[in-house]
Symmetry: D4
Subunit: 229 residues, 8 copies
């Protein structure tokens, strides 16, 4: 039977095809598999991003890789230290949260975008129960070509934003909440059933996917990789 | 075996106990059963309300009852002609719809309230995709002790209203929509999972129940019947 | 990227708008975020309520806040010690449970009401399997303008109560039970589908929301804050 | 390929084994198949019962069978005219309905029992929204060894009855209702999650199955067939 | 606010009404509440049964009660030592399992029956994947008035048994299994949709309820308590 | 915009690749599209099979195609008249039904197999409620390499058969039934959760797919087309 | 009570805010309401689009509007005749279908885009069961900035396309299919759970919404209306 | 009451009947029951396979059995050391995974097959997001009579493979993923709703069942046991 570590195949070709570097998804990997995947990611020469990695998994990485990774506990992501966006990068993406429980998902999106050279404006705690909170950011929001909106519970923020701005609104339902909101289904269905036309919906808690979609939009479906330029 | 018509028992005692006259629910009754229930309702001496009645059912009623009923095709309700609210009644309930598909449910609530002597203000087509539509009614909304909000699709209007006003917000999800919104489950879950605290939720399409809840609130849990006073 | 603690924004404006002070929801916050939110709540000058807080979270609060909070293990809530209702307050809300597993949710409602100056009568263990248990409280129940009913399993108590009394009945399904009752969906659907007209339904386990709805009802949609008067 | 009519095999052996004659289920059969099944049922010499048969199907039966069958439009059942219970049979089963929409299912149970020689007492429209309606039958109910309770919507009647009486309570959820009650799932889950111990639950709308269970109980698991004795 | 221990009310009246002594459901109780409930149960003078009690909960009981209880780890039940059936009691109930994972639920039923003086025959591991296993017990099965069948996964055993015997078949779906079988829904639906007529269905894992139903059947809806006779 | 008829592309290449000729799925096609698809199917030179075709659709086909097709009302399929299996073909597939409502799905499988030159033995009405019915065919069943089992309701037949025979058992759940069985989900889950190892499961009502799987098995993954040989 | 026709409010402001003209959703409107909405749409001076309109509804429109509308039976849409894209418009959107049953949804997207001046390339019947069908269009696909992919059944086409091209892939699940595919949930979940990163998901059958999202992308979140330029 | 260990009955007869030796399912067994089942399995003289066994369970086995078992941590299976396939066995089964999270399920299938003497080719990490990865194995795949495909998330790999090869494709959905993919339902539905005809579907995570189905196919429904030959 095959060697578990040998099964790991980092897909560096994806970056060339899609302009979207492969992220290493940590939570389904054994320590050996994770180390091997990170090794291949560094060897590929592209941006290195690890998602859904616990503190324990990060601590167990071989020193030579751990020292080159910036780990963020909130989003449970790590990215290569040389991969952060340049200070002067134009901000093209807004990332919003309805409440503080949505911040980890938002942060996963922000760091995925950072890993590709995109800077974000982060607007937190603007759930619709206090509508004025989001309205005071309206000027900013209408000027951004892409907005990533992270919300759990009833997900009303998706429709409010998509009704206010002409840009691309990417809805990321989060698994925040209890009762009918548990697991994020209520927010997911709210995003899909939105009365505001043209909302782009991601899977629950999929900050990484939302960032990839933002990159597809901003790069015009072209090559568009600006990390390390 | 029992006579199908004899099974009909109009529950006039409910009015005395709860201050909520029994409505005759038409759609599960045969023509004979419906005529008998309407007869008992008129005999009980209280307000007469028939809900979920098709045009065919109305047309098949005996002349003596049909002539005394005001039938509304939009809400598929009939109520006794002498039971409409007096012209000068103070308006204590606002009834809102997100879109025109929610009007039949809203109208069922309005006519149930009318049957008990309550006048309503009706505000239509204020879904959150165009937030200014609801905001221009804000002055009115904050002054009403009870708001019945009817919305299908993603039901974001429930949270927006409940975050704006201090009154009792009764959410009535409607079965408007397709895909994940079909049957009203997305809107129902949005109402239950609302980030605005203290939303009162009804079953899908239950305009009658929402009106009964409004009456419970407005009558202070007392006798409160003002129809025909 | 933003500082996690800086993301915490206690929404003191809600009290002014809705007459419903913001509760601090503990279970989604890190120790640092929770301490910051509690600090802002005390600074806002209004009543302080923390919900869904574990014993560990309470123990980890800075001394200066912990010493001013009354923590209740059953409901996992804390409220500022100076915020309990005056001894002579009129009782306007009844809080019922079907069984002892529903007590934590009922207690969350009671303490939220206490935090706003409302006293409650608490009636426990009156599930319909022994109907006489609830019937012996009937005299009390018909006189209360608001009843909060907490029940899991099949939730039959909601309909029995709403058929007995003219007041506002707020159904809080609880996640008590196993098999089809697990997670509270059976009780939730029973509340929504009740044959008794005008039941107000909350999300599963949402004692806080039920109390907020009770306050909306009792304050007549007005300012209504009596805590600290 | 086989002849569609030849596929029909009336299972007369079931009566010998289980004491439960096979019913002919009409709604999935073509006119030819139905006629053949009815022919075999008469030939078997036992009681003849046809369920879920539309008026059109009944009208299309060959004269020789139609003339020997008593058709009931409410329950959509037919049974052989010589198969009704003797006038003096002791009543051992109570059949209850919460509302008039549950009558068709109750009637299917009553007629299945009639076909086996059991007489029933039928108590209609005793839903828990008006608790006194069922309480006035309490004396009767506690003396019956088997109660078949038919209820849709929230199905609270199952628990109320099973908490009042020591007999076998067979819950038959009905597909009455709309929103979360549509299709009978809310009532089904209420029956399964009942806080009253020992409720026997049937599939939604399965009046025939409930009657078969009653016969199993009353015949003591023995031969027990009394039809035509 | 009320004292948590004072909330415990052991319902001794249930035994008189229904012939079904109240069991103490342990898993939702704190140590103090559990001790109080057990105390009241012993004081009531009837049979004492505790269900869903962990080893830890049993160990934490006060000595005076623990010493009088027979604890069974498999079913997580305890019953008073003087409450076991007499050696010569006639066996009237068969309890079957499809596989060894169903044994805990079966044992809960057996011990509940024992607590009321009923002896059982226990037949394990007769799932339909090896049909001859159940067929070799056929002689025994057809002579028993009540069979409790515990099965998870696809629950095919319910239909096979109910098609073989004339007695009352009580189906107890168990939460055994993974994928679509997880939580017991597949087995529950199989029991409800059985092609064999007259299956009595219980909630998932509800061995206690199945035993209560068996007692209702065997006592003829009468008083029927034989424990301690 | 494209011409609706021009969109029809009969995929003749599938036969070469998979040994499975494309069926024309009628129910989603307009009359013009269906005629075009049938024309292309005849032109391709392979076997012609049309599935899910109503009588009206068949009647509306151009004469030149209708006259060359054998239409079966039970399965709503048509196949080219020159495509039926030779009289002497060895029978390698058994097709079983639990009840007569399952026959249309079974017949779709039989006719798909016929179209490829495979003859079947058809065994109807052998549901497990009468176990002896299936047991009397046991000798036949153990000798067949492939069995297609069609069952609705609780689907217990899948497990019983797969526990009796060493051949490949293909479970086809059918949408027969009401309540929890409606739509075939109960039977589908029973097939997937079967305690008998190695059941191959198809989508609900997918007789065509089951036949394609049988062909994949019998042809050894090779070319295996024997129709018209 | 309000006049049903007066409730219709065509939201012309949406075009200014979002660059997305309001479509008139026909299927929830009465003939009077629909005529009024169409009148307002023409009066607003912008592009006129009516969706989900039956042939009967179109035929019932007043002559003056019907004569100015181009009605398409496949997509059930109508658009103002002067609103079609200019012949020389650059093609920026590809619209793909997996099978012919997905064409109506694709056509709704195409006509919505046409109404805004965007031309599409339409690629039909490229489901993954025949992978070469989609591969032969690969050159075209990689050059388009936006692809709208319409697929029902298992929705595998979404992942295959999103793994091949760098552009924005908008997945539109369709309600094609039976069994677990009925209603489009299987395809919807496939889109959301796609292993290809950055898929934008729409509600089931929402061709209109997908087109709106495409316009948001192509207009760069700007004004971007080119219809009638 | 019965002795828990005595309840264990290893079903050696299954091997004779079906050609499929019974596996010992460990995760539902106590240490005593597991040791007893393993003892019986060795005594039966056939191949010994234990599935879903934790490291702790393996460590707790009596030495005499543990020493004869080869334990694999990835698949959590153990098999008798003398039971591995001969080196020169022809490879007839391909086992594919979409991603590394699917490997444990694939390995359970491979080891079950090994236990019966079948060798496999294992092809990992060929999810459709990078289509070329699977295409480079096409030559191998078309020559294998049976392919076991393990995939979670959206399960698109099932359809792609079944559209490429004529062999039997056994789809094993895995519980990999989050949001709508959690628990494997999205992948399961994709397998059942596949547009490629004739996919054989197993329960989620059921590698053992998939291997049993492969053995049924390869042994031609005959005796076919080659382990230890």
């Amino acid at each position: 039977m095959s060697d578990p570590v040998a099964e790991v195949r980092f897909d560096a070709a994806r970056r060339e095809r899609l302009g979207l570097p492969e992220a290493v998804l940590a939570d389904v990997k054994s320590p050996g598999q994770l180390a091997e995947a990170v090794r291949q990611a560094f060897d590929s020469g592209g941006p290195v991003l690890v998602t859904r990695m616990s503190e324990q998994q990060y601590a167990a990485l071989p020193d030579q890789y751990r020292s080159r990774l910036d780990y963020d506990l909130v989003s449970r992501t790590a990215l290569a230290s040389d991969c952060l966006p340049l200070a002067g990068a134009a901000v093209e993406v807004g990332v919003l949260t309805a409440g503080s429980a949505d911040v980890p998902v938002a942060r996963e999106a922000i760091r995925t975008l950072a890993c590709h050279g995109y800077a974000c404006v982060e607007i937190n705690d603007v759930g619709v129960a206090g509508l004025w909170r989001v309205m005071e950011h309206r000027e900013t929001l209408v000027r951004l070509p892409v907005l990533i909106v992270c919300a759990g519970m009833e997900g009303a923020l998706f429709s409010v934003i998509a009704g206010l701005v002409p840009g691309v609104v990417i809805a990321v339902p989060t698994s925040t909440g209890y009762g009918v909101a548990a697991g994020g289904r209520a927010a997911l269905h709210a995003a899909l059933a939105s009365c505001a036309p043209g909302v782009a919906v991601s899977n629950v808690d999929n900050g990484y996917g939302a960032a990839c979609l933002a990159i597809r939009v901003l790069s015009g479906g072209g090559t568009g990789i600006r990390c390390g330029d």
